[in-house]
């Protein structure tokens, strides 16, 4: 026998044979498999599970599913796994589950923050803005305290130990919601052979069928729950159908792209979770057709003191009775404006509760309902309203008065005791996903709520989501929607025969919807909640309107209505109605706030899926990567690549390694892995013409066997890339690009070939990965090449600069280029990438007798700066022309048009006072400038705004010059050679510098350094 006092003896999808222990707010409870945290707590008589966001008033379980606004708890004690803001109505219990109340201190029952409630008069809408802006305080100071006071749960800390995944699926028909309409839709579509995905948000299929009396209703001779699970089982057996439970459709995007969020393992104790399954999964579904069978959401009633624990939606109370086998109250008062809540009263009574009355806003009640109530001895109060409630941590009673018109009450106050107040303001089609799909909502005057209107995408709504509430109608519209969807997806489908319904249930009829229930109290004393999560009352909304925030989107933001983690699922419609009522406008004119994705909060883990850690941004590595890693390399990301930045010897610092490598590359020999450079194979009879048009210099006369440096501009005349291109044959060239620019250069070139110069016969192929490159630098580099390669005499006397030749190493063909980015004698050996690692080790072996060292990108940067060579992206920033780089020598304006040529003549690019590239040498050779430091013309920093002449782009300590060197861009720099300027720094006087030419090696030769 159960020790849970409010557990029914039988009924519901509950396995009473197994008992589960869990902990909530420091106390131990038991429940059964099939329970959510909400149903288990209610079975134990616990209604209060949280405190309000702003006033810290006690908050109970209000709904039974994802619509619940306020019953939020923190799950789990493990800091890396804890899950904040989890709805107790959705979290299934497992052995050892630990849940804690949020936003309370020191405990749920005794909470210091509740003092806010006493001062509630001083906390109106917009309170924060009004109080903390302006002279009295400033928001920046108060914000941390306010954030803390208004806290929700605690975010997990540390790396997430769980695994998540995202999967892509295509289907003919996606059915969202597995209630009566969704099941019929999926069945009708599946029978046609369509590929179907059926997604159900909760743990079981059936939807509202699980919340109606199984003793009374039969579908095809079965209980509603059995009928639903049988259909789902049949569907799941079909190869073409995927049935997903615990899977919410969270976003409806363009062209029927729908995101589904499956909570795969959250319902299991951590120890029971299968190692091969992720914790959660996001399904990215592209559906030809969608059926929205998302059901309906019950609307709360907005009356004075409607926020106490024990006040619950009537439909939720029925769900607890029938689906979970729990009677959520012993003395139940029902407050309604429609027929469906009367069924809730009858069901609760049948389940053992005493019904202390039904209060209905309507004066005219259907005779059949009156008869049923009389049969059951239930006291009724038609045309009456609740004007107040009592009870500290759970409702204990309500005061009832007769309605007078729409806005008043009259007559005596009747006090009625209760421990559960079941409220119902009618049922609203759940149109969130429909509106996300950009369909147009229609305001239904009878329901006083929105329903789907004109569709925009390939979807249709069925059942309660389409404002069809009766069971037969749900089945029928569902089957029709499924058949229609399958037909539109190109299959032959029919709705098929409808299952026979016995019993059935009474639907809501026409509810009497009032934006606010009168209480007969002075306006300033009314506290009627619209949004339970954000603590927004009718008073707040009226204040917002009074202050001029009369657009619904403004009123929402000013009051925060519907801005909580529930996005106002139950609250918003009442807010729209109150705004409309107060402004005297029709609701359709007030409109709605935007139904945004996601339908409910989705974890970042699920969205990131498997794209975490090394998979977040996969890195490309060169064939010799393993050698670098084994030999002390420190890597840096360059574009998508990982490149060795320096090779540290034991006990050596990074800077020491760079200095050593840089010396080796000038004094004897060093080798760089240059495989990452972008490489484009260019073929075709018009290849030369093409090169002439994409580079600034001339390519007509470059002979086979020769290479040339080129500067590539954008059409705006700014430098976008540089590199060396070799002529292999008259119609065949090998272009290199910067490592980071390879992809954009190829696209840029393809763009012109495909869309502008379609008459040119040129073919581009990216061969970056086809070639592995070892770049040798230093006076002994030619000896290493000579020792290693056959079929080539690399002697610098005969094998001239900018030559290239074919050769072999042990019979493996290579291309040897004599090109240099360091200014020293240098060779590049290119080999088929499969031989890249082999080549690298051969070079290291062959170079050993010349004391060869590997060098990384940092030394490469330093070496080229010594020579005054630019790095695109370091000396350039998208605003530098060749002239700005003082590389006018490379611009050939006699060869005809090239990309960017015309822009070089624009008045702005032709200005003589543009920033130009120069060398900068400090007076103190040991002092290194900071990259990015501003250049000014005065010894001391003048008062702001400081006239800035330029900035430092590269700065190093050069071992080969024995001093610091820097490159920078300075206004009219070319005409300032020899001038004294100053580089600013954060803490200290500006540093005096001398403006020089950029080739420091040459300056040394002439004795100018």
């Amino acid at each position: 026998m159960s020790t849970q006092p409010n557990r029914r003896a039988s009924g519901g999808l509950i396995d009473r044979e197994t008992t589960i222990g869990f902990r909530f707010d420091g106390r131990d409870f038991t429940g059964h498999p099939g329970d959510t945290l909400a149903s288990a707590l209610l079975a134990n008589g616990e209604h209060m599970v949280a405190r309000g966001f702003k006033y810290h008033r006690p908050r109970g379980i209000f709904g039974a599913g994802s619509e619940d606004p306020t019953a939020l708890v923190q799950i789990g004690g493990d800091a890396t796994r804890t899950d904040p803001n989890t709805r107790v109505t959705e979290q299934e219990i497992y052995q050892g589950l630990e849940a804690r109340a949020q936003n309370v201190w020191p405990s749920l029952r005794y909470d210091v923050g509740a003092i806010n409630d006493v001062f509630s008069t001083f906390l109106p809408a917009g309170f924060y803005y009004k109080t903390f802006m302006g002279p009295l305080g400033n928001w920046m100071t108060f914000e941390p305290f306010i954030r803390k006071a208004a806290g929700m749960g605690v975010a997990p800390d540390g790396p997430d130990p769980d695994r998540y995944e995202t999967v892509n699926r295509h289907c003919d028909v996606l059915v969202i919601g597995a209630g009566p309409a969704g099941l019929m839709a999926a069945q009708a579509a599946a029978k046609s052979g369509a590929r179907v995905i059926l997604a159900e948000e909760s743990a079981h299929v059936g939807g509202r069928l699980l919340s109606i009396d199984p003793d009374y209703t039969r579908i095809a001779g079965k209980t509603p729950a059995n009928w639903a699970s049988d259909i789902a089982d049949d569907l799941a057996d079909m190869d073409t159908v995927t049935v997903l439970t615990r899977t919410a459709a969270f976003g409806y995007y363009a062209q029927n792209f729908v995101g589904l969020w499956e909570r795969v393992s959250d319902h299991l104790a951590p120890a029971d979770r299968a190692a091969n399954l992720p914790r959660q999964r996001v399904w990215r579904v592209r559906a030809k057709e969608v059926v929205l069978a998302t059901g309906s959401v019950e609307r709360p009633l907005v009356f004075h003191e409607n926020d106490r624990p024990g006040i619950m939606l009537a439909g939720a109370a029925r769900t607890f009775v029938h689906r979970y086998g729990v009677v959520p109250g012993r003395r139940v008062l029902v407050f309604a404006n429609n027929d469906s809540a009367w069924e809730a009263a009858f069901d609760l009574q049948k389940a053992g509760a005493t019904i202390s009355g039904i209060i209905d806003l309507r004066r005219d009640i259907d005779g059949a309902l009156l008869g049923k109530a009389a049969e059951r001895g239930i006291g009724i109060h038609p045309g009456a309203a609740i004007v107040g409630t009592t009870g500290a941590q759970r409702v204990s009673g309500a005061q009832v008065r007769r309605m007078s018109g729409e806005t008043g009450v009259e007559g005596a106050v009747t006090a009625i005791e209760c421990d559960l107040l079941a409220v119902s303001g009618g049922w609203m089609p759940n149109v969130a996903l429909f509106s996300q799909s950009r369909g147009k909502l229609a305001f239904d005057e009878d329901l006083a709520a929105f329903r789907p209107g004109q569709s925009w995408q390939n979807e249709r709504s069925a059942g309660a989501a389409a404002a069809v509430f009766d069971l037969a109608g749900c089945l029928k519209t569902g089957a029709q929607a499924g058949a229609d969807a399958a037909k539109k997806a190109g299959l032959t489908a029919t709705a098929g025969r409808m299952p026979k319904i016995e019993g059935g249930e009474r639907v809501q009829g026409t509810p009497r919807v009032l934006p606010e229930i009168p209480s007969g109290r002075p306006k300033h004393k009314v506290r009627a909640w619209i949004d339970l999560q954000d603590d927004v009352t009718t008073k707040d909304i009226k204040l917002a309107l009074q202050e001029g925030y009369d657009s619904i989107e403004h009123a929402k933001r000013y009051t925060t209505t519907g801005m909580g983690t529930d996005q106002g699922k139950v609250a918003n419609m009442n807010a729209f109605a109150l705004v409309a009522g107060t402004l005297g406008k029709p609701v359709w004119q007030v409109g709605t706030t935007t139904y945004r994705q996601p339908w409910k909060p989705v974890t970042f883990g699920a969205i990131a899926g498997q794209h975490v850690g090394a998979h977040f941004h996969p890195r490309r590595t060169t064939p010799a990567h393993a050698w670098h890693a084994e030999n002390g390399a420190v890597f840096e990301p360059v574009g998508d690549w990982l490149r060795a930045r320096a090779y540290l010897r034991s006990g050596e610092s990074f800077d020491e390694a760079v200095q050593r490598e840089s010396r080796a590359a000038r004094e004897h020999v060093a080798v760089l892995d240059a495989s990452t450079l972008g490489k484009i194979d260019i073929r075709g009879k018009d290849a030369r013409t093409f090169l002439n048009r994409v580079y600034t210099n001339a390519w007509s006369k470059l002979a086979p066997g020769k290479a040339r440096y080129g500067l590539m501009l954008g059409e705006d005349g700014m430098v976008m890339d540089d590199g060396v291109t070799a002529c292999i044959a008259d119609d065949h060239f090998h272009m290199t690009t910067t490592t980071g620019g390879a992809a954009s250069v190829l696209t840029h070139l393809e763009d012109y070939l495909q869309t502008e110069w379609t008459d040119l016969e040129v073919y581009l192929t990216t061969v970056t990965e086809q070639w592995s490159v070892a770049s040798l630098s230093g006076p002994d580099s030619w000896r290493v090449v000579a020792d290693l390669c056959e079929g080539i005499d690399p002697d610098p006397e005969t094998f001239e600069f900018m030559r290239f030749a074919e050769a072999t190493i042990d019979g493996v063909p290579v291309r040897v280029f004599r090109i240099s980015f360091t200014g020293a004698l240098a060779y590049e050996i290119n080999i088929a990438a499969d031989y890249g690692h082999w080549l690298w080790t051969r070079v290291i072996d062959a170079g050993r007798k010349y004391a060869i060292q590997p060098y990384g990108t940092e030394a490469m940067h330093l070496l080229r700066a010594e020579k005054g060579f630019i790095i695109v992206g370091q000396e350039t920033d998208g605003t530098m022309t060749p002239g700005d780089l003082r590389m006018d020598w490379i611009v050939n304006d006699r060869k005809g048009d090239f990309i960017g040529k015309r822009s070089l003549l624009r008045s702005d690019t032709a200005r003589s006072d543009r920033k130009q590239l120069v060398g900068l040498l400090t007076d103190d050779p040991a002092l290194m400038l900071e990259e990015g430091a501003h250049i000014i013309a005065t010894e001391t920093e003048p008062a702001p705004p400081v006239p800035m002449l330029g900035h430092v782009t590269s700065s190093y300590i050069s071992p080969n010059l024995g001093r610091s060197i820097a490159l920078g861009v300075v206004k009219a720099g070319g005409s300032r050679i020899g001038e004294r300027l100053w580089a600013t720094r954060r803490d200290g006087a500006p540093i005096p510098v001398k403006v020089t030419e950029t080739d420091f090696l040459k300056l040394r030769e002439t004795g100018d350094v």
Binding site: Y253, A254, Q255, F257, R284, R286, S435, R438, G439, K440, L441, A442, F443, F450, G453, Q454, W456, E553, P586, W588, Q589, G591, T592, T594, E715, D716, T747, E750, D751, Q754, T755, E756, T758, D897, K901, R902, S903, R906, S907
Partner: protein, 121 residues
Amino acid sequence: MFLITCPYCGTRDQSEFSNAGEAHVARPEKPEDLSDEEWADFVFLRNNPKGLFAERWIHTAGCRRFFNMLRNTATDEILAVYKVGETPPRVSTAEPATPSGEAPIGSGNDAVKVERPEGGE
């Protein structure tokens, strides 16, 4: 996330494509004959209409071909795709009434989220 039909490869997810700006902006034949203003108009200025727009896309993670698309930027309707050099096909689409107006459905904007009832003002 759009579904885009590459005229060479067929229908693929948007993640395979990159947008490449306004279509049918030809590079001037003789740039040197143009004034600074005319040249700047070609280099820097592009249309960005709300409504029907001809734009270029490239199938970056596919055939790497550029092609043109007619898209209603207010509603994200893809109305046609066609190859470079082809004449844009005739299409009809609901254009926003004014520069600040809305297409009657599909933009998701406030003015068109809710149907106006018959006779409603």
